[in-house]
Symmetry: D2
Subunit: 298 residues, 4 copies
């Protein structure tokens, strides 16, 4: 069983995870290009610091080129029976490709979708894992240290072969988009009816126990309204981190209708537009056929 | 057969319709509260100017209170066998209620949905009509003068009993919302791909003959791009005139799924918001759980 | 302070609420037209059984005509300082109209949105209340007996004047539609990717702690999958109870964009159609222009 | 100027196009694996039959592997200054890749999006073209023979470099999805209101002149209703041919909100599902929390 791992990437998430792993009795050697936070000076030193019989390295760096770079470098340094764990937000197809490449050298690959954000340090992280049963069995002490207290199956799943962890996390995030947009639409409707609803924050707070819509996201909504009851301090600009797009792409590929999750994604796209070219076009059409009121640019 | 009618409301639409009716050989006495455009000084004078055996009055004033006011006043002035034609944008249920009220006095009621906008004067107006077969039969000379050239059934329909004209027009406008949004989304996508599509206006113009998407709205889109190729002169603010809302309300009442028309309506609502409260709420949630990047209000 | 109330309607909800009220120390006299469950033979007997200085009657019968009938009858039986509590699913505008009618006789009116379903007996009911501060203050012992354990404001809110309780409950249910559809879309996507996700139930169960999407509805989803892992025993027919429709109607009235909640509602409408007339129309169009493959009715 | 071309693929579309080209004075040598329709026995014979100074071959076979196979084979047979025209439904990125591969041998590549379906033989085909100005200039006699009568720019566009033709066609088809769904939703709403609209076919026919929604698709809708007024002969099963999916994928890549076109695509996906797994999940959730009515599978 694995009780000592390497951890590459000591940013906000990686740093917290190192702390939680150590609390849970796992020895962690961390590497980060920033020397002031790193336990070892180089990636090679990290590999050298791990138990020789099986080196296990958890990669926790931004998706895309950074993750690709680290996994490629580890492919050079590791060998038979070692395991790379990709805990970032890779696309599941990339996982499948990397696992195939590493398998040539006998290096195992496990992908883990990690949920929990900045709250994970204390609450534990929800873990969705893809990989071979043998690899995952040997890694259970690591996963148990990270996951929330309580029954293992309420915060951990071996969801399938390589790719399943990030596929599950991708869907998790797609659902998250839909849930957030649903609460947000409800919030807007409450706030728009000021002659009837005199306490929007209190109304949403009253939903936090006993109701059908209670959830952690609702708790956060209430917290946000406590700090800023009219949401006056925030702009309506909402980023998207990629998993929402992948979720819709995947649904299109599988011919699965996804009206709610796609609408949530499109609402974010629209939130970042200064002017909507499409709605300008609609305005132009109305002007053409009816002399309808339009607004000229100032 | 009716060959002389009264016309209440000489705004942009009413004025054009009077002109087209006269071109078509119908005698029209117009009334408008603005004396400089009115043919008679009062509504009572209008009624008095019409053939005594059957007075027919076409009402062409803004929907809601103005139409209600005129129809109520006509109810006082008219009697057995006279006909009120409501050519504005009333809700079809209002038509049904008004028809019942007028029927007590023997006054007929016909509702007409009129399509064609400012182009109707020369192209003719598409007419959707609700009412009794007898009333509509007597009004055919009037409808024939207004509708486009060509076979009657390509620009005129007796769609059903009172209310059918405005119900049909409401659905027509709901479809119009969807069509406009579809072209607008396509326009935005073409315009967003500048490295591949170097001629957006030319691309849409090339669709105006022979393609599946050719239509009058597409012709107008091309015209708008001719005048303003990047739509730089227009804001993305789009009004809605009520029929789109009624269409969705009606669909909800009938349990008819309306994803496209409702999405088109909501896009217009969003276009008129300075800041979206819902997207602020999503931004607030993301800030709560992940310390994600948000934008503070300037 | 009110410690004895009448309760009209002893169906599934009413019966459970009577039990929870009694557990909480409130005296309850129940009335139902079915003698075998009723505490008194008639509505008049119910009124007579209550404290003469202030009769308080909670109405818990189906929305629409049944509620209207009971409230009207109570209007005849009650007088100055008495209070009617409407705990069903009335539209908030009906509440406003009824309150105005009862106020003529000095009878107070309080509307309560109740959430919690069959679980409320043990977990308590989330309560959203509309009415005058004085009426609500006197009713707090009743609300405290019904609401969940814990801080009052996490399961109770005085949301505004009469109507606010049902407006808040309506929005609550609208959000609920969106949340359910978001989980459902995610479920479908997981289940569609069988070569990657080998344990759908386990994946969703692993989300129940520590993740961003954890919620009571997710717990129920997991429970449902425990009982029927492929959802083979259920049809895809989903009813809607009215509040979802009202939510979208209200949003249209207020010009609030509601893409997610409306899409959830339309998905339910579509689920109840044997054949979609709209999609038949699309099939017909494709056949017309391209000789595309269509399916004839068997 | 090119006046003799090879044409690979003599299916429904290719055959019609050969006929129209010949009517327009272009010499066409056709090749198809089915000897009974082919003008020459092999692809090599086709190449040999063309003018030696510049061989131009129009490829009109199904997208994907078939097109890839023909283009690869032509790459072996053609040389400096020859041109391959891809007139099928390739993805624009494939065009870009193929053009780069053929450019190594000096072979030009032009991609053409062709619209018009079975009606193109007589009406002409709308053409969207991507490629180099020189290649396209030399091909104008071919395009002029295929496009509809009337001004060239109303049925033809040089939309940009290689890829632009199929990008434009992809967006054209995305718009087409939205237009069809908009008419279909309107049709369903008219048909659902039988007490008011007694003539659905007549109502839509009356929109074909003078109205804002008049279009070729509307003409087809009317034709379909003429043949089958209640659409009783058709199933509600609607295929999708790929361009709609690509359109939404592309919008996601470019962060362009596409609510209407995506909703139209999802409606088609749903139309092909026997049972919706998502709606089963919603039914399961409702059963869990409220004992709501559900339908068991028969």
């Amino acid at each position: 069983m694995v009780t000592h791992i390497g951890l590459v990437g000591l940013g906000k998430m990686g740093n917290n995870m190192r702390a939680r792993l150590r609390r849970g009795g796992i020895e962690v050697t961390g590497y980060d290009p920033r020397p002031e936070v790193s336990d070892v000076p180089t990636l090679a030193d990290l590999v050298a610091a791990l138990p020789a019989e099986q080196r296990v390295i958890w990669v926790m760096v931004p998706a895309g080129a950074p993750t690709r770079g680290v996994v490629d470098a580890l492919g050079e340094l590791l060998g038979q029976d070692d395991i790379v764990i990709e805990g970032g937000n890779s696309h599941y197809v990339e996982d499948q490709e990397r696992a195939a490449a590493l398998a040539v050298k006998g290096v195992g690959y496990v992908d883990v979708g990690v949920s929990g954000g900045v709250w994970g340090l204390d609450n534990g992280y929800g873990l969705m894992v893809g990989g071979s049963p043998a690899d995952i069995a040997s890694l259970m002490p690591v996963f148990d240290a990270l996951r929330p207290e309580g029954p293992r199956e309420e915060g951990f799943v071996h969801a399938g072969p390589v790719g399943a962890g990030h596929f599950a996390k991708m869907v998790h995030n797609g659902i998250e988009y839909g849930l957030m947009q649903a609460y947000a639409e409800g919030y807007e409707l409450l706030a728009a009816k000021k002659d009837v609803i005199t306490d929007v924050h209190g109304t949403m707070k009253a939903w936090t126990r006993g109701t059908v819509v209670r959830s952690w996201l609702l708790d956060l909504m209430v917290k946000a309204l406590e700090q800023d009851p009219e949401l006056e301090l925030l702009d309506d600009w909402v980023d998207d981190s990629g998993e929402g797009r992948w979720t819709v792409d995947e649904a299109i590929d599988l011919a699965v209708p996804l009206p709610v999750i796609s609408a949530s994604l499109f609402a974010r796209f629209a939130s970042r537009q200064d002017k909507s070219p499409a709605l300008k076009a609609v305005a132009a059409l109305r002007q053409q056929f009816g002399g309808h009121a339009v607004k000229a640019v100032d």
